[in-house]
């Protein structure tokens, strides 16, 4: 069983996102696990994060200003994997840093570092050849994004070649801004689950345990990013205890939602 399958088999999961190289990343990753995060997305910093709101934009620039390189990011991941053999780890970012040395090189490095999956924001299914075949050959899941604008006609293309889980971007917009109405999330998740056996995780604009619990009642996972990034921005290198405490409130809400649902 893959790490993803194992994580999602336990019920609704907490997926957390932080930007690699922003703050004390190793300590923050440990704090996420200690706080109860089930899946971790590590952001690959990029100079031009077009799909991100102000919080994650700033995290990208803070990381790059400290000199974070692609090699640093893979080292962070490999260290994490040695400490946490069971937690699924996803690399999330933009096409250019992922493809600049060639897709095969990137896929091999991801596998070597212990990444289970990759989310690339700006490679839609139309451009799958850019990264998809190399990742699949290396045994790394390509996690696709579905959005409120993904209509029924497109959905099969989006799902083709997708693995690991499906990430539902619940808002047509950028990260960390407004939250979607619960009813629209429920409709979308039902539509997606009718079309795929992959677990569906919902993200964008989720900031509170209450929102997370509500989504967890209908989805397989809830993604929280900007709210964690805000904590790291506030506390800098001393953020880990705060990250852990906030993660625990989210994890308790999501894992508790499972029991209510059951």
């Amino acid at each position: 069983m893959t790490r993803f399958a194992s994580a999602f088999s336990k019920g609704p999961v907490l997926v957390t996102f932080i930007t690699g190289g922003d703050g004390d990343t190793a300590a923050n990753l440990d704090a996420l696990v200690a706080g109860g995060a089930d899946v971790i997305e590590l952001g690959m910093p990029f100079t031009d994060p077009m799909a991100d709101g102000p919080a994650i934009q700033a995290a990208n620039l803070r990381s790059l200003a400290k000199g974070t390189t692609t090699a640093d990011l893979f080292a962070i991941a490999a260290d994490f994997r040695s400490r946490h053999p069971d937690t699924p780890l996803v690399l999330m970012g933009y096409a250019n840093p992922m493809t600049i040395r060639g897709a095969e090189w990137f896929a091999a490095e991801c596998a070597k570092a212990g990444f289970d999956g990759v989310i690339c924001v700006d490679i839609p299914s139309e451009e799958d050849a850019e990264l998809g075949p190399a990742l699949r050959a290396a045994g790394v899941d390509l996690i696709r994004l579905a959005t409120p604008t993904t209509d029924a006609a497109r959905l099969p293309d989006v799902l083709s070649g997708a693995s690991g889980f499906l990430y539902y971007v619940s808002v047509a917009g950028i990260t960390g801004q407004q939250q979607a109405a619960q009813a629209s999330i429920e409709d979308a998740v039902a539509r997606l689950k009718a079309a795929t056996d992959l677990p569906v995780a919902v993200g964008f604009g989720v900031r509170t345990p209450e929102q997370a619990a509500a989504i967890a009642r209908v989805a397989d996972g809830v993604v929280v990013g900007s709210a964690l990034i805000d904590i790291i921005a506030e506390h800098g290198d001393a953020a880990a205890p705060h990250v852990e405490a906030f993660t625990r409130t989210l994890a308790d809400a999501i894992h508790g939602a499972k029991e209510i649902a059951a």
């Binding site: 031009d48 620039l61 992922m98 600049i100 839609p124 451009e127 850019e130 047509a172």
Partner: protein, 406 residues
């Protein structure tokens, strides 16, 4: 037989159905935007097949923009250089003072066809912003222009023009606060407002079908130039020269001539302080990568982080280039040469004094290349240079560079 060893029968058939020029171009956008990009392409195909669309486009270009723009024989510049005859394609004489308006007319007609009620655009120097605000005013649509905060500060006259035209100007504070950041912010706004908003991209870049449709709207430049030179000289030119930032004026001039093998074509990149220093020459100093929806040559470091471009010309100050130029560069149909800030500044003054034409600093880069090349060619040779815009907007920059206090 492989693609890489065989030149195409025509250089004018691209892009392919997925928006690729060779390995360049494509649609590298977030999933949220993909359905809209596909919808835009469907509407563009329908517009291409609709004679009424072309008729309205042509009407506006003639009666609103003032086309055709003249092809001016620059006799004093020619005599001064002592070589090939130099003709200037006078895009500076268009309404709003540059080629940018051609594309804006085409795109706002598309926006209207698609039922979009709001217009957004990015701008660097402000020329595309002014042209977009102009057509938005003409069509009565609300318009928001994203402009880097640094550019807002150094291009105040254009900011004021846009506001007079009724546009809202958003000063973008993210990243380096210049053109690429303005484009990021426009994309962020678009992704949150796809249902009612049309994004008028200002150059032959971005996701397919933008590079194709912007090229098509700008090709009026080359179509006119071809007819005009045939009338004036009875033959095609020996060479075309145009400045290239994103490359919309250049592709507009070049595209109708791409299959005329006897016409040599030269694109001019901004070499800034020199290729060893800060510059904006994506082909000379960059390598292929993915940014802003397309694969193309980009200024970047070894990790694929985008590096800052520099040019004295704000319109060339972008770390990428249109994907069709990247392809034309790789297959060798167009030669791209660098011109520095200092060379452009000298040519700006020279053209002004010799011809009574104040060129945009962008266009001055092409003039500088012509000054370099014309003396090496015989007097029986003909060069067409794209005078893509007028230089009134640049007088403050030039004054500062020359140490003149206004």
């Amino acid at each position: 037989m492989t693609e890489t060893t065989t030149l195409p029968n025509s250089f004018r058939t691209g892009p392919d159905e997925r928006g690729h020029f060779g390995q360049f171009g494509g649609r590298y956008v977030a999933e949220t935007l993909m359905p809209l990009i596909l919808d835009l392409e469907r509407h563009y195909r329908a517009a291409q097949a609709d004679p009424a669309f072309k008729a309205e486009f042509d009407y506006l270009l003639k009666h609103y923009v003032g086309r055709p723009s003249p092809l001016w024989f620059a006799e004093r510049l020619t005599d001064h250089l002592g070589g090939a005859k130099i003709y200037l394609k006078r895009e500076d004489l268009n309404h709003t003072g540059a080629h940018k308006i051609n594309n804006c007319i085409g795109q706002i007609l598309l926006a209207k066809r698609m039922g979009k009620t709001k217009i957004i655009a990015e701008t660097g120097a402000g020329q595309h912003g002014v042209a977009t605000a102009t057509v938005a005013a003409l069509f009565g649509l609300p318009c928001t222009i994203f402009m880097g905060a640094v550019d807002v500060a150094r291009q105040q006259p254009n900011v004021f023009r846009m506001k007079l035209l009724g546009a809202e100007v958003v000063a973008v504070e993210s990243g380096a606060k210049t053109l690429k950041d303005a484009m990021n912010e426009a994309l962020r706004h678009w992704v949150a407002n796809v249902h009612d908003t049309f994004y008028i991209i200002g150059t032959v870049a971005g996701p397919h079908p933008y590079p194709e449709l912007v090229r098509d709207f700008q090709s009026v430049i080359g179509d006119e130039a071809k007819a005009q030179i045939l009338e004036a000289e009875g033959r095609l030119p020996d060479m075309l020269i145009a400045p290239v930032g994103g490359g919309s004026n250049a592709i507009g001039l070049f595209h109708p001539f791409l299959d005329d093998a006897e016409v040599e074509i030269v694109g001019v990149e901004a070499a800034g302080e020199g290729l060893d220093g800060k510059h904006a020459a994506s082909l000379a100093g960059g390598r292929p990568g993915i940014l802003h929806g397309n694969k193309t040559y980009l200024l970047q470091d070894e990790d694929g982080q985008i590096t800052e471009a520099h040019s004295i010309s704000a319109g060339l100050d972008y770390p990428g280039i249109g994907p069709e130029h990247s392809w034309l560069h790789d297959i060798g149909r167009v030669r791209y040469e660098p011109v520095t800030d200092a060379e452009a500044l000298a040519s700006f003054q020279k053209l002004t004094k010799l011809e009574g034409i104040i060129p945009a600093l962008e266009s001055a880069h092409a003039i500088a290349a012509a000054e370099r090349i014309a003396p090496t060619l015989g007097k029986d040779k003909i060069i067409i240079v794209n005078c893509s815009g007028r230089g009134d907007k640049d007088i403050f920059t030039v004054a500062e560079a020359l140490g003149v206090a206004l």
